[in-house]
Symmetry: C2
Subunit: 469 residues, 2 copies
């Protein structure tokens, strides 16, 4: 069962009532934006192969934001700054198997709820309430039943549900002190994991062994991975989830691994390092191009800046670097305008980070895209997940990359369209660079930015040094 | 995506066609037991907090048994020993993100399918087919739609679905060579994990750090945990999933951790060790009682023996041991008849092990209980998961334990009922024994048994030695 004992929470949260204060502040802000009651469900556990063998429970992020604790099969009702908690008291017969569990009134006290009820009371308190559908496949029907109406799709909410989604985007886009504290803690574990992965590489024969070293650090902090780790010598496979390949001395290893706090707050870091502890000359050349894009992009992060311009800047720096290496031919600005950079950097430069690693992506592009903006059809822009002016206390990732994706580079239309701007012969000399990505988590501050992941080096020499130990 | 490349499979399976042969044998056996077509679905990925962030895919065990490989959103149709595979070819647009994926015809060849079709063809091939509902919450509605009928509950199948469930129980109860090979490999990784956990204990401050060492070994073998690990100083919480507690020198640490192969085959091992590397006298006394029950139970494992009698034997050995320690008072046989042992050993002595750690538990007690047998109401028997005569090539766990569960020992009715058979004052001297379990995986052989987990010691001195290193 996922209901933690009150003692599981950091005592400071119990002691100085920081959690209570944080949650009160969040719902008071919500009440200024939404003028109807709001009911948010946490969701249920999902079965793996038989009912009793379940995936670890992850509560809905919207619930976590306002409830602060991961409770299974629970709901909160928010209205005019008031918090009501709905959860059943633990079944005494269950305690044999799962141990002593906190009672409803204990959880209510912990989170500063104004009232607490068994779930059976929820139906009578749902009238006129806005909500967002939980992602677990089973809770939405319960939500619809209790609300007495059909449920909006989270990506296309209607009426009061749209009003709620907009308000949540407003709130969750700019993190408060408690959120930033948890993100920093998650980042800290992730940095340790990446260092452990680099250190473990010389003694590892497979990707899986490096994964074990990295995720072991995250587990040792009693955290979980925020997303399925990518730890691969085939970095050109952007969402690679295989770990079975042997490590070879000439390989680059791309590791995209981030820890998540028990409270749900995430981190998201990528580093790419040479298995041998030494970049080849070609690997180093490309690495430095990606790093230049990374550094230039981060230098632009501050309130008011259009994130898309940061993406385009990264694209331009990559194009320029590839021109200098003789891989691309032409004027870097023109190359970006014609999406030639996207042959090698086909994804966006980053995304919002928060309770979800792609924060609020359950709402589609509502969080990532300013109102009345939509995804571009352009090859070089269509995978951009964030297209808004940056705001103070947003956390964004900056993660440019270079990849040789066969599906892109061997595509006959691309071959034809970019015939004259790619030096394909020259490119063949860089065959030992399958994929490089460098990703940091960046907080937008009042007058600039803070790289939350700054304690993990990005410079090629420093990376080599960490691998060689 | 979870569709692995063919190269991910052990080359021997590709090379010597062992997988093909195994699968053909399984479906030929099925065809002798079921006289209608059978369609089994693999299931879909489940979302964690937003659609693109998903739990690692686990195919339905029934699908895995006949398909041999973990394919997402696929189905097999079995009829008269013939195998048809239904899966869509990978979407070329997806390959940018997930890399090159095997084509349908490659998968079909790998598993020896007689034919392969896109999923769109499945509807026209479903008539009159038996099935078992997948556990993922979304596939069952697809199953019902394509079959054109309502779906049986897996625990209460009707008609041809019941016929199929019975046949599957018959087949999957007695493992073939390929299954045993994979179980042995999973066992081997689990043994290594347990040794790593013991070794890591002196340098660990929390349960989470020991967990990291243990699960790290499993990850390093590119396996997953077969179930959520239990690694706890509160062994009396039988399904404990917390890892946040500090380790204290006088604590016992109970670790119930098992690896699962990429093919789905599971292992399940529990050991209990002293954090300090030395059992206290009281811990050692109880440990030896549990170990005696474990050893005596395993000695009884052979074809034809009623598993419930093994459970009762373990209960009797525990009762006798607790009488000798002065904790229980009376005749051991009488104590077991009155369920007094269950005050301290409230669960069953084990269960079937296979593709599921509680094998085929999605079918309720159909696999665990002989036809026309049902769960006992008795306190000492009602949690017994297996009540059949043992058959050759079954794998069962043997896992007696001793626990001081507050909910049981402080229950006023138990206090009254067992007033005269428990020396409560004496029991207080054993307060440093919260929970002990010793669990091995045992193969029923032609004329006896083989302890698959025999390479992991059970003797107290050997355990102490492994912890102290």
């Amino acid at each position: 069962m996922a209901i933690p004992l009150a003692s599981e929470y950091p005592s400071k949260k119990l002691g100085d009532r920081a959690l209570e204060t944080t949650l009160r502040d969040r719902r008071q802000k919500l009440s200024r934006l939404v003028h109807c009651p709001v009911v948010l469900w946490s969701g249920r556990r999902l079965s793996r192969n038989f009912p009793a063998n379940q995936y670890p429970f992850r509560a809905s992020s919207h619930f976590l934001y306002f409830a602060g604790v991961s409770l299974e099969n629970a709901a909160v009702r928010l209205e005019s700054g008031r918090l009501e908690l709905f959860v059943d008291d633990p079944d005494p017969a269950e305690e044999l198997w799962v141990g002593e569990m906190p009672k409803r009134h204990e959880m209510a006290r912990l989170i500063g709820a104004d009232a607490a009820f068994p779930l059976s009371e929820l139906g009578s308190r749902c009238e006129g309430a806005a909500t967002i559908a939980v992602q677990d496949g089973t809770t939405p029907s319960q939500q619809a039943q209790l609300l007495g109406r059909s449920l909006s799709s989270p990506t296309e909410p209607r009426g009061i549900d749209a009003e709620l989604a907009n308000a949540i985007v407003t709130l969750r886009s700019q993190h408060d002190t408690a959120a930033l504290s948890d993100i920093r803690t998650a980042v800290s574990a992730s940095i340790e994991a990446h260092k452990a992965g680099m250190k473990a590489t010389p003694n590892s024969n497979t990707e899986a062994q490096v994964r074990a070293a990295m995720e072991g650090v995250i587990l040792s902090h009693n955290m979980t991975v925020a997303y399925n780790s990518i730890i691969t010598t085939h970095g050109e496979v952007l969402h690679n989830e295989r770990y079975d390949r042997a490590l070879k001395p000439g390989d680059l290893l791309l590791a995209d691994v981030g820890a998540e706090m028990p409270t749900g707050w995430a981190s998201d870091i990528t580093r790419t390092w040479p298995v041998s502890g030494r970049f080849s000359a070609t690997q180093r050349d490309i690495y430095d191009v990606v790093l230049a894009a990374h550094d230039r992009a981060i230098a632009e992060v501050r309130p008011g800046v259009e994130y898309r311009n940061i993406h385009l800047l990264a694209a331009r720096v990559i194009a320029e670097g590839l021109v200098n290496l003789g891989i691309l031919i032409g004027n870097p600005d023109t190359l970006v305008e014609t999406d030639a950079h996207a042959l090698f950097f086909p994804h966006g430069v980053g995304h919002l980070l928060g309770l979800d690693v792609h924060d609020m992506e359950d709402l589609g592009d509502r969080a990532g895209y300013e109102k009345n903006r939509a995804r571009s059809e352009r090859f070089g822009l269509r995978f951009l997940r964030l297209h808004r002016p940056l705001l103070e206390n947003m956390v964004v990732t900056i993660e440019p990359g270079f990849y040789q994706v066969p599906g892109i580079l061997n595509n006959p239309q691309n071959r034809e369209k970019y015939r004259q701007v790619v030096n394909w012969e020259r490119l063949e000399m860089f065959a030992d660079v399958r994929g490089i990505r460098i990703e940091d988590d960046v907080l937008v501050t009042e007058d600039g930015s803070e790289v939350l992941t700054a304690n993990l080096p990005t410079q090629a020499e420093a990376i080599e040094h960490l691998v060689r130990g």
